[in-house]
């Protein structure tokens, strides 16, 4: 049982107590925290250029400065949209597990997690609605994975949450420190990065425990399936940054062709590797990635 593994782990209890205390100490009112100017200037980067999907490719070389700014604008709206819908999906999973059998111990922290994630979803949505012409980009929904048992299902749910959070955090920490970006953009990335460091610490501990439990009884084939799925999920998450409607809205012709060319580029492979360097190391260390 998941709850027995969790209860046996003194380390997990200690970390949960520390993270819960930190959530209480760092609590803030997001609805009053940010300054939302009427407009953000268009003649500047909205996303660090190194994080945009055309960076280091021939496509970027062909675009003028104005078009690169426009692309960074649309890509930032896509990034915050991914956050909104990613959070919505992970909240459903956590809400489905809070105060249920097996998750008694982390439920106290789940309350903070749910509350904070709801607030993040609010400020990311607010950004899109104010500065993205009321638009949020969508992706076709993803549900499920190889789940021969409830334990594997929970492992994959929390592994997906962790991977998503680590992907986003790479972008947040870079943009929070980038003085080419507007202060409002830097502020939402900074605040999110602060909260996410707690969620990531929690996620890694929980994923490790859930995997230890799964590994006790799983067959070699099941472990291979989990590894393959997690690896594919990482690529899938990274590729969600490459959105055909973004390219179209930034004025690029043949958006699907642009997306295909970018996905096949060496720059994409390098960017994915950099983004997930720490995540991959963690997943290999746990044995989840084989």
């Amino acid at each position: 049982m998941v709850s027995e593994v969790i209860d046996r782990s003194a380390r997990f209890h200690g970390i949960l107590d520390r993270l819960t205390e930190k959530s209480i100490d760092d609590y803030y009112n997001p609805y009053r925290l940010f300054e939302w100017p009427e407009q953000l200037p268009e003649d500047m980067w909205w996303m660090s250029p190194e994080l945009t999907t055309t960076h280091g490719t021939e496509i970027a070389d062909r675009l003028g400065r104005e078009q690169l700014y426009a692309l960074s604008r649309q890509e930032s709206i896509n990034f915050y949209s991914l956050n909104v819908h990613g959070i919505r999906e992970l909240l459903v999973e956590v809400v489905n597990r809070i105060h249920t059998k097996g998750f008694e111990t982390p439920s106290e922290f789940f309350h903070h997690f749910i509350g904070e994630e709801n607030e993040h979803m609010w400020f990311f949505a607010e950004f899109c609605l104010r500065y993205g012409n009321g638009k949020m980009y969508r992706q076709p929904a993803v549900t499920g994975g190889p789940a021969p048992s409830r334990e594997v299902e929970s492992l994959l749910v929390f592994a997906r949450i962790m991977i998503f959070e680590e992907l986003v955090d790479h972008f947040n920490s870079t943009m929070a420190a980038d003085d080419r970006l507007h202060e409002t953009i830097r502020a939402i990335n900074r605040i999110h990065h602060q909260d996410e460091s707690r969620h990531i610490a929690f996620g890694r501990e929980l994923v490790q425990l859930l995997f230890d439990e799964v590994r006790r009884t799983a067959s070699n084939t099941e472990l291979d399936d989990i590894s393959r799925y997690v690896r594919r999920y990482m690529t899938h998450s990274f590729e969600s940054l490459y959105h055909p409607q973004v390219y179209r809205d930034a004025g690029l012709d043949n958006p699907h062709e642009v997306r295909r060319a970018l996905l096949e580029s060496d720059a994409r492979a390098r960017a994915e590797e950099t983004t997930f360097r720490k995540t991959s190391k963690f997943l290999r260390k746990t044995g989840i990635l084989r």
Partner: protein, 81 residues
């Protein structure tokens, strides 16, 4: 004229699916691609983009009906007719 264009469209989708499964050389119109795991949850987004690209039509992701994506026949009916 338009039917030949439409046939080319669904052929592109078929080629995209077969391209992901080198062990297969054919895909009949009524084979359920979801149940047979030719397209799983992670590949679904790519299928949707492949259909958009082949049909030249943007798909509303808020109004996706999974029934439309069960087989080449249902895809053709929903997006290429």
């Amino acid at each position: 004229m338009s039917s030949s264009v439409d046939t080319q469209g669904i052929d592109k989708v078929r080629d995209w699916i077969l391209g992901r499964h080198p062990d297969r050389t054919e895909l009949a119109p009524d084979v359920n691609i979801i149940e047979n795991r030719l397209v799983d949850s992670l590949a679904f987004v790519e299928l949707v983009y492949a259909i958009e690209d082949a049909s030249g039509r943007e798909i509303d992701f808020d109004a996706i009906d999974v029934e439309d994506f069960q087989s080449l026949a249902t895809i053709e009916r929903a997006f290429f007719s």
